[in-house]
């Protein structure tokens, strides 16, 4: 269409240019399909393998002992919720706080040090974070706990949240900050209620990204939250978590447990997508859309 419109001018577009133009378009389309296909394939495969085992018992019961059929991952679903809650309480405030510091006051050696540390932390394998938290929390407490699991996942959330917060705050133009200062609003109030609010859509995206990644982590929980075959609501006790339970079931020799592992994976994905969507909907309500 566009090429025809241009071609109708005084200078017709050469066939080589038209060819390379369409070749590039096709290439781009193929690439985007190649990105989408694996995602959909994974999801479809999960649905096929897992949907058959999802029922009320699966969602509400704890696992049955080896040999008995049935049982579910109810305790792991609740456990994941609790552990992620602890992780969010640690990771989100610290991450946003660090991001605010970096964006608003971070043009000095301390800011550079924090930025560098966050990048390194982002690159550390999650199992290493698990070991670190094991030696710091589990060893001192002398037992595994959901708290330790939450600490490990919370630490993993910090770099993603802080860098996202920093980058989004830096996109807020200086004139918006000046508008707030010009009204006699104190610096910290302006930062929280104006700058951070202006950037909130992007900050929330960063938080959700970190949350979704933490929700699927297995390695940092292996020797922190440890897992639990029974119901537990005590953050000072070992606690089940979906990724852990999936891991245990997947490497077991029993077909029944393999099926439960697939169902668990499907539930995990659905819960993550559900949580992210819910946060999106709730936060976009009552917030004005505007060009930033």
């Amino acid at each position: 269409m566009a090429s025809r419109a241009l071609g109708s001018g005084s200078q017709p577009i050469s066939w080589t240019r038209r060819l390379s133009n369409s070749a590039l378009t096709i290439f781009a389309v193929v690439c985007s399909i190649l990105v989408i296909v694996p995602l959909f394939a994974i999801f479809a495969y999960l649905v096929i393998k897992g949907i058959g085992s999802i029922n009320w018992a699966f969602l509400t019961q704890a696992p049955k002992p080896v040999g008995e059929t049935g049982g579910g991952m109810g305790n792991a679903i609740v456990g994941s919720g609790i552990i992620l809650g602890v992780a969010s309480l640690i990771g989100i405030p610290l991450g946003i706080g660090a991001g605010v510091y970096l964006a608003e006051y971070g043009r000095n050696w301390l800011g550079n040090a924090v930025r560098f540390t966050a990048d390194v932390l982002n690159g550390i394998p999650s199992i290493v974070v698990g070991i670190a938290v094991w030696s710091l929390v589990v060893v001192t407490q002398r037992h595994f706990s959901a708290l330790a699991g939450g600490v490990a996942l919370g630490i993993m959330m910090i770099p993603t949240v802080s860098r996202a917060t920093e980058e989004m705050l830096l996109l807020v133009p200086r004139t918006i900050r000046e508008a707030a200062w010009g009204l006699g609003i104190s610096q910290w109030r302006a930062t929280l209620s104006v700058t951070l609010k202006t950037a909130s859509a992007g900050v929330i995206t960063g938080v959700m990204l970190a949350f979704a990644r933490a929700a699927g982590e297995t390695a940092p929980l292996l020797f922190t939250a440890f897992g639990n075959q029974f119901w537990s609501f005590n953050v000072n006790q070992p606690m089940a978590a979906l990724p852990l339970q999936i891991f245990v079931y997947a490497i077991s020799p029993y077909d029944d447990w393999h099926r439960l592992a697939w169902a668990g994976a499907l539930v995990l994905i659905i819960l993550i997508v559900g949580a992210v969507t819910a946060v999106r909907v709730v936060t976009s309500r009552g917030m004005m859309k505007g060009a930033t």
Binding site: E178, A179, L183, S186, V194, A201
Partner: protein
């Protein structure tokens, strides 16, 4: 009520560059003062020194005295936040808070300083928007539309309403009408005329007719110095300085 402004030996720097050279000026309470001069001569820098906004730019420096009423705003112990509460500012480019509603934009200065009386807040928002000649255009979408959804001219009037809502004593306006059509400009000029009953106003403008229409006094800046400051009439009909005459007769700048 407006208060007088007294500026003595004011110098301002960006890094090592001196942008204002020892400016002296006295503006009476409830006066409208226009600042004119070619682009880059330091008008914005000057008004930004009157509410301590200049110092928010990293690497800048200010020297000299500025008194707003009886307050020496650069004295040790005078908080910048306090100064800016009393000296409102409308910026060269409209800068509404994009994620806040029209209502919240106007209420921001009060709300974020801890003002909680809902009923009073409603009244103040309405009064401010009426003063800024924006009320009729936005009264039905006050809490539904964001500040960023307005046109450029409406945004600037919103910013004026936002500045008025905190009831400052001095109002600094840096080319408030440069993004406005003639009708909105006319409204703002009327507004300035009304406001001088309660405020001391300093307005930067490139439009000399505007200066002549709204201001009792006019200052002419050139290359960071205040060349001449006098009654507007005098500046435009019989300036004492050759450079002022050249500028207003359009021989340069």
């Amino acid at each position: 009520m407006g208060v007088g402004i007294e500026v003595r030996n004011l110098k301002a720097w960006y890094g090592n560059t001196e942008a204002l050279h020892s400016v002296n000026m006295q503006m009476g309470a409830n006066q409208v003062t226009a600042l004119i001069g070619p682009s880059g001569c330091g008008k914005s820098t000057f008004v930004r020194c009157l509410n301590r906004m200049h110092e928010t730019i990293p690497g800048t420096k200010v020297e000299g005295d500025v008194r707003i009423g009886s307050t020496d705003i650069y004295a040790n112990g005078t908080p910048a936040v306090e100064v800016r509460r009393r000296v409102g500012m409308v910026f060269q480019k409209p800068n509404p808070f994009p994620t806040m509603s029209i209502y919240d934009n106007v209420a921001a200065g009060l709300k974020l300083n801890g003002f909680r009386n809902r009923h009073r807040l409603d009244e103040i928002v309405e009064k401010s928007l009426k003063q800024a000649a924006l009320w009729d255009e936005v009264k039905d979408t006050l809490k539904k539309k964001s500040g960023a959804s307005l046109s450029g001219g409406q945004q600037q009037r919103l910013c004026i309403a936002r500045a008025l809502a905190v009831e400052p004593e001095v109002l600094l306006m840096d080319e408030p009408a440069s993004a406005l059509d003639p009708i909105s400009t006319g409204k703002i000029e009327e507004l300035i005329d009304e406001l001088k009953a309660n405020y001391t106003i300093v307005i930067v403008t490139h439009n000399m007719q505007q200066a002549a229409r709204v201001a009792g006094f006019t200052g002419f800046f050139l290359l960071g110095t205040l060349v001449e400051f006098d009654k507007t009439e005098k500046i435009f009909t019989n300036p004492s300085d050759k450079r002022t005459e050249d500028y207003i007769t359009g021989r340069f700048g």
